[in-house]
Subunit: 238 residues, 2 copies
Amino acid sequence: MSPTPAKSRRDTSGYPSLTEGAYAALRHGILTSHLAPGSKLVLDHLKDQLRIGIAPIREALARLAGEGLVDTESQRGFWVSPVSVDELQQLGELRATMEVMAFRHAMETDHRLLQDRLGEAWRSFKEVGQRAGETEPLNDTWDERHLRFHTALFCGYESPAMLRIYVNIYARLERYRRLGIDRKGFLAGVIDDHSRLLEHVEAHDIEAGSQLIRRHIQDVVEIVRSNVGWTEPRARGS
Amino acid sequence: MSPTPAKSRRDTSGYPSLTEGAYAALRHGILTSHLAPGSKLVLDHLKDQLRIGIAPIREALARLAGEGLVDTESQRGFWVSPVSVDELQQLGELRATMEVMAFRHAMETDHRLLQDRLGEAWRSFKEVGQRAGETEPLNDTWDERHLRFHTALFCGYESPAMLRIYVNIYARLERYRRLGIDRKGFLAGVIDDHSRLLEHVEAHDIEAGSQLIRRHIQDVVEIVRSNVGWTEPRARGS
DNA sequence: CGACGGGGAAATATCGATTTTTTGCTCTGG
DNA sequence: CCAGAGCAAAAAATCGATATTTCCCCGTCG
């Protein structure tokens, strides 16, 4: 009935609670490096920026700390987790391993389902994926559809346990991707990997698919690593 | 100078903040299933039990939610994450994969370091590990040393990224271990796996070590699965 | 000149009270 | 007997104020 859904006095944004709004805002800020890696997250400032009390902010930060996007030290506050080449590589390795695991599992469990999900995700992705290879930088839409493509690999798992962990790792890598690929665009080859993977699925070639996944992710790690300006761990700063 | 370290009016326990105390208490309660899987976590009750305000409790719960030990739904509160056979298997598979990955990496990177760390951890573990095979149930000390043994495998990684994720998965499995092994004691063979792994390290046999790790973890998953009373996902309850 | 320490400003951590939302129950009409 | 409206109690979410701790500047002493 009501066009605006049950206006409450508080909630400004479209989130069900202030905590969720703060969580989304902070997470996005971190993943886009609008909040710089290693920088201090001062509660009072965030309070003024987000126009909400400190309680929901602390709660959102605690959640992000649990996810590894924020560091916290008792009585000292919160920081955006720093980035480092070493972490980039470890996350990349782990992501590749998990995807291959999921891929094999899905291929062996329900090949048809995987083919459907992946095909659907690919069609959605390629609309926006191609453009990013030319002029546009990686943006939210791109990343959302790209993520959807890769999570389709996990369709063989019923419980969301594996997927949740994967998504966390993916998110942590998203920050590196944007840091290292942002302005340079993307190698067309890396984009094409996705359609090639789909072909391997259709051909029921598990080995080729696994290798492709590994290389795909390793390539991105390398691209990022060669583009970023820092070589050593970026410790705490402003 | 001060014998009691800077007595503050608040902090009762030995934790640097109430949030940390609540976090530790809740985490422990969940891992031991003293807080039953799927059960509602009512803020007012926790407030009375822990004798602290709601703010630090919410913060601790938010952190646990980020780690996957607690589920939360906007405006509806917090629940202990439910358990399921499917999740047990996925976590087991992922743990095995990560350990093998770490093992290979450590063997190839700095074999000597791994041997030292693992040997040290083994000596510490076997004191308490043997007893658990007979009469004693798995307890905090056992689990702490057992964890230390397995985390020694990660000594090849500099950045703590991989280790953090592993520890999270390990913890989530700890709950299942205690649920399924608690009273029945432990198969001696499973305990011996650890010394056998050490032998493989000394013999520099990567393949044998990897296989042992996989089987070791898979065995525990099987033991738990056959001992627990539930077969299907345990949804939300009291 | 550098270690030390006082002291106020800044920032964090926590509480108690208030506002909103959800949950159960009861009553009513069909 | 069931669906749904209407309340009251319970629980969650949030705020503003306060207590506590850390940070940082600066003067002093060796």
